[in-house]
């Protein structure tokens, strides 16, 4: 029996160990995923279509149950016993804001998550207001989501998750269908948020701008993990994983 030594490093924001998952139809989506994310890091999750990015995301908040391996968020294992706390800690912004926004008004929609956590009254109002202010959508609080532009709906979708005060923000294809100005707005918002983030994207310049670190997932395995500029500059690695930079774009010349 030894005196417990103080932990030299803080608890990682996210630990994924040997995660494996096969869909009920037998298709193996994740073979062996290992990933550790430290608090405050922003990590890009790259990979071709069908690499398992979305499947991995659905494991981070316990929508899918791991067939093998384990996921821990802030040290807490993702398991049925504490799904509520896991879903508070992990905020997932899905690809299609129409899937995420379903309440009659923006305010009610942003309140949905924190209300599920048991918040009521003034505290709930404060959360809603702060989340909408963080994405610059305070004005739209009383409007129905379907009257907003696509870019605005995406920002509200981010607010719905911020209102839950997550420790880990997960964005699935945040720039899909956005025009360049809306894409820029979202980047500024994400950069202003002091939370750990995982950004699954095909938008490689966006990954380079927002995320110092990148992970490539392919066929259910993490095949590369390192600083984003180095990974994007590794032409053979990129080609092997069906990743391609936009024409004329050089990750190291920016």
């Amino acid at each position: 029996m030894t005196v417990p030594t103080p932990n030299p490093t803080p608890t990682p924001a996210l630990e994924v160990e040997g995660l494996a998952y096969a869909y009920p139809d037998g298709h193996t989506a994740l073979r062996q995923v290992d990933l550790v994310v430290q608090p405050g890091e922003r990590v890009a999750l790259l990979g071709p279509n069908g690499a398992g990015k979305t499947t991995l995301i659905l494991h981070l908040n316990g929508i899918l149950q791991a067939a093998g391996g384990e996921v821990r968020v802030g040290g807490l294992p993702v398991a049925k016993a504490h799904l509520k706390e896991i879903r508070r800690r992990v905020g997932v912004v899905f690809q299609d804001p129409d899937d995420q926004l379903f309440m009659p008004t923006v305010r009610d929609d942003v309140a949905f998550g924190p209300a599920n956590l048991g918040l009521r009254g003034d505290e709930l109002d404060r959360r809603v207001h702060a989340a909408l202010a963080a994405v610059g959508m305070t004005e739209a609080a009383d409007r129905p989501p379907h009257h907003l532009s696509f870019g605005q709906r995406r920002r509200v979708a981010v607010a719905t998750v911020l209102a839950m005060d997550p420790q880990l923000l997960v964005l699935d294809e945040p720039t899909s269908n956005l025009d360049p100005a809306a894409r820029r707005d979202l980047a500024d918002i994400l950069q202003s948020l002091p939370v750990t983030a995982i950004v699954a994207t095909h938008d490689l310049p966006y990954a380079l701008e927002l995320c110092p670190r990148a992970v490539i997932l392919n066929e259910g395995v993490v095949v590369a993990d390192g600083p984003t500029p180095e990974i994007l500059a590794d032409a053979p690695l990129m080609a092997a994983n069906r990743l391609e930079l936009p024409y004329g774009f050089h990750p190291t010349h920016t």
Binding site: F102, P104, D142
Partner: protein, 256 residues
């Protein structure tokens, strides 16, 4: 649905008026009470219907809804009126002759009853819909203790009805863009399979919405929508219209 265009605003007319500002649950309750009072009025109490019409017109003017607009929106009751027109032709004896037609007297009374009560009821409801957004209506119903499941289903219908209509419209445009120009019933196969695809897409969207809800801690119970209370003055103001209509109806019953 992508882009900010093409949304159905429905019947709502955005104006700044006292009627628009009233709390939705007070408006819903007042409308319901007014319709009940109208229905309870004896059919031969013409002066009561006159008073009710004046009340509706006054509220319409207060709400900045012009009477021609209100009249145009009454068209929704046309199918019911069409039914009422048949009653005097098929009704029982005694008959009376009007312009060479033998019309049934009970039938005439029945037609008048449907026509006047229907018109007043529809006018009140049209006014409610013109001055209250769907979101407000839902919170109003919620506030009036309508079970949350009902208001939630209505909310989902409004929200996703538009998404699905938008998807259907895009699929139609995509069909037309590939030279699809159906002229005969046997060419409808593409429309039928589009409908099937739309159903599957909607079903899958339902699953994605559920996953997104679960991700935000949904446990099967929808939280109450945010709403504020109506004060006594406001209740008094909205109660005035149905109270007048009900008093008039009662007076008419007592007089007969």
């Amino acid at each position: 649905m992508s882009g900010g265009h093409g949304h159905a605003h429905g019947l709502y007319l955005p104006r700044h008026s006292v009627v628009h500002r009233l709390r939705p649950h007070a408006k819903v309750a007042a409308t319901l009470a007014f319709v009940l009072a109208v229905v309870a009025t004896p059919r031969d109490a013409f002066w009561v219907f006159g008073l009710d019409a004046v009340l509706v017109a006054t509220v319409a003017l207060l709400a900045h809804v012009s009477l021609p607009t209100l009249a145009r929106r009454l068209a929704i009751e046309a199918p019911f009126v069409a039914f009422a027109v048949f009653l005097p032709l098929v009704g029982e004896a005694p008959h009376t002759d009007v312009a060479g037609l033998s019309l049934s007297e009970p039938g005439l009374w029945g037609a008048w009853n449907i026509l006047v009560k229907g018109t007043l009821g529809v006018a009140a409801t049209v006014l409610l819909a013109s001055t209250t957004t769907i979101a407000e209506l839902l919170t109003g119903l919620d506030r009036l203790r309508v079970p949350r499941a009902f208001t939630a289903i209505a909310g989902f219908m409004v929200r996703y009805g538009q998404v699905i209509v938008g998807e259907g419209r895009r699929m139609r445009i995509a069909r037309l863009s590939r030279g699809y120009d159906p002229r005969w019933i046997w060419q409808a196969r593409a429309v039928a399979s589009s409908a099937g695809t739309l159903f599957i897409r909607s079903y899958e969207r339902g699953e994605r919405i559920h996953v997104a809800m679960l991700s935000r801690g949904f446990t099967g119970e929808l939280p109450a929508a945010t709403h504020d209370r109506a004060d006594a003055r406001e209740w008094l103001a909205v109660a005035l219209v149905p109270a007048l209509a009900a008093t008039a109806a009662l007076t008419a019953w007592l007089a007969t």
